[in-house]
Symmetry: C2
């Protein structure tokens, strides 16, 4: 029997509540499709930080390395500053394993009522391709004149040709496989003087190698407005770490909830494990209530199955998700207009498999 070693890191807050539902789904779909999932649990979180002063042990990365994939919940909780928790767990995994592609679908699923009018399922259906290893997410910089009136904080973003080109090429290649003809670059070259003109330049250069892919360039401000006004117009949108982050929360917001949105942190060369996690965070406001939507985590697990070569199983999971969402009277969590709990919705999806 095919078998996969999965590192499971539920993390904080609702990460701990949605993860068990994804594991149930994986167990069930594995049984149906003839493979086995072996889950290796890593209980690393802000709680760990409070106890040990670290989000994960010093050899944390090494302990994850030999797994086929990593399934992550959410990281961050009040009491530990966000930059400490995230730079202690999520961000180092993305970087150490060179998961340079963050791939995030934006899709209006059946049964969801989007806040925007006039859209049916299928009609909002695009992808955000986000650079995931450098850029605006940076610890370069610091503070001078600390504590004085003259205090100044410098924040340095660094963009290498290597990382910029590889994400752009990934986006062009990905546009081709989708057979969709438009790739949109998120930029802000009118305001951000060095880095964004550089993105424009590399985009123009690389697009010459892909004459069959139609391109457009939008400044991030108006691009965000267009996500709301005309979400049906996008196929693939590529952007820097920060811009991709913004667009991949906004896109699901336009479809009604970020509770269902998944993401894949991919190392395309497969030199290291890739990581799959919902787009939502640990949601301290609803943590502990058992009402978080597990679909973001479950869809992330489906993306993991695709990556592991179990595409049929991944598609099966998504059919189950869509059939539950689309059927009257199926349980739904508060974010999608219902009153059901995390576990009820998870059970309905397991049953639909």
């Amino acid at each position: 029997m095919r078998s996969y070693e999965i590192a499971v890191v539920p993390g904080d807050g609702i990460g701990r509540e949605v993860m068990p539902q994804a594991l149930r789904v994986l167990d069930r779909v594995g049984a149906e499709h003839g493979f086995e999932m072996r889950f290796d649990h890593f209980d690393w979180s802000c709680e760990t930080y409070r106890k040990t002063g670290r989000m994960m042990p010093a050899d944390g990365i090494e302990r994850l390395r030999d797994h086929d994939s990593i399934l992550l919940g959410a990281v961050g909780f009040p009491g530990v500053p966000d930059h400490i928790s995230l730079w202690g767990l999520l961000i180092p995994i993305r970087r150490e394993f060179d998961q340079y592609v963050s791939l995030r679908p934006v899709r209006l699923l059946p049964g969801l009522t989007p806040p925007v009018r006039g859209h049916a399922p299928g009609d909002i259906d695009f992808w955000v391709v986000r650079e995931n290893t450098e850029g605006e997410y940076s610890r370069l910089g610091g503070r001078q004149g600390e504590g004085t009136e003259h205090e100044t904080v410098l924040q340095v973003s660094s963009f290498t040709r290597r990382a910029t080109d590889r994400i752009l090429r990934y986006a062009f290649d990905f546009s081709r496989t989708l057979n969709r003809n438009r790739l949109t670059l998120a930029t802000k070259s009118n305001g951000i003087y060095h880095s964004m003109p550089y993105w424009d330049e590399r985009f123009a250069q690389i697009s010459a190698e892909y004459p069959d892919v139609e391109t457009e360039k939008e400044h991030i401000d108006i691009l965000c407005a267009k996500f709301v006004m005309r979400p049906q117009n996008f196929d693939v949108v590529v952007g820097s770490n920060l811009f991709g982050d913004i667009l991949s929360d906004l896109g699901p917001g336009v479809t009604g909830t970020i509770g269902v949105a998944p993401s894949a942190n991919i190392n395309p060369e497969r030199d290291h494990p890739s990581m799959f996690e919902p787009v939502h965070g640990s949601a301290p406001d609803i943590a502990g209530k058992g009402i978080a939507n597990p679909i973001g985590q479950i869809w992330s697990a489906a993306m993991m199955l695709d990556h592991l070569g179990e595409a049929e199983a991944g598609a099966h999971v998504m059919r189950a998700v869509e059939s539950v969402l689309g059927s009257d009277g199926a349980p739904s969590t508060p974010d999608i207009g219902g009153r059901a709990g995390t576990e009820d919705l998870g059970s309905a999806i397991v049953d639909a498999l």
Copy 2:
């Protein structure tokens, strides 16, 4: 008779088309309210750049200095890279005149059909307060290994305590004058390691001086999603130069069009002239067609009247705008669902005064 010297810079693209409508409105409302507007025209644009190699003359700033206010259209046009045109005209004016507050209303006007469902005019009504002089909009940085595989671009954002504190204080004070109790900070302290934790820190510190103002802090990614999902929940949102830019395009996008959105670049101490401009850009795609919505420019002119102390005249302009938008059969431009031209809509507003 009271009289005001206004520097008029139409700029590029649709800036040249919407500006005349705002000037007609100002002339008319001045006549009604007993003041005179003296317009001093500055024809600075990408055309100027092509002819002279500069967006404005070397003494451009000096030539604007003695005016009571500046009314600007839009800057930037294909053929001149955006970072050249904007850093040659718009951005230096904001900085040289220390217009450190960018104040941008987001309001669902009558007669507009927003892309989001379930909102009536009045119910989306908030303000974005944007830091307007430093931060991510920066020429600090540069390129190394140019043209090689190892090319690296550093982009340095700089945040001073002075500029951070003064915009935060402005936002707190402004929240108070509105008698609205919630101020939202846009942050991204989980990813951007130095600057955004600094914003969080200053916000927490200054909020202690304003115990009557309720505060919340949202990461920019989820904040953008919330703008779409629950725009009625915001009162005042304060953010850095980049985050304020993004939010002040997204907000109007949620109300249906950025064509109506205005902005004020304010020097609160009145040491220098303030500048008023629509949020939209030069829109090369529709430039020359005479179909741009002039309301963004006209509303900006109304904000200018407020700033000049002609608040009654400003309110009068907004009543005229709202009555035209709200009346059946009044001309509307394509962005708000009609087929009228810029001038028709401008005339209707002039007539309504």
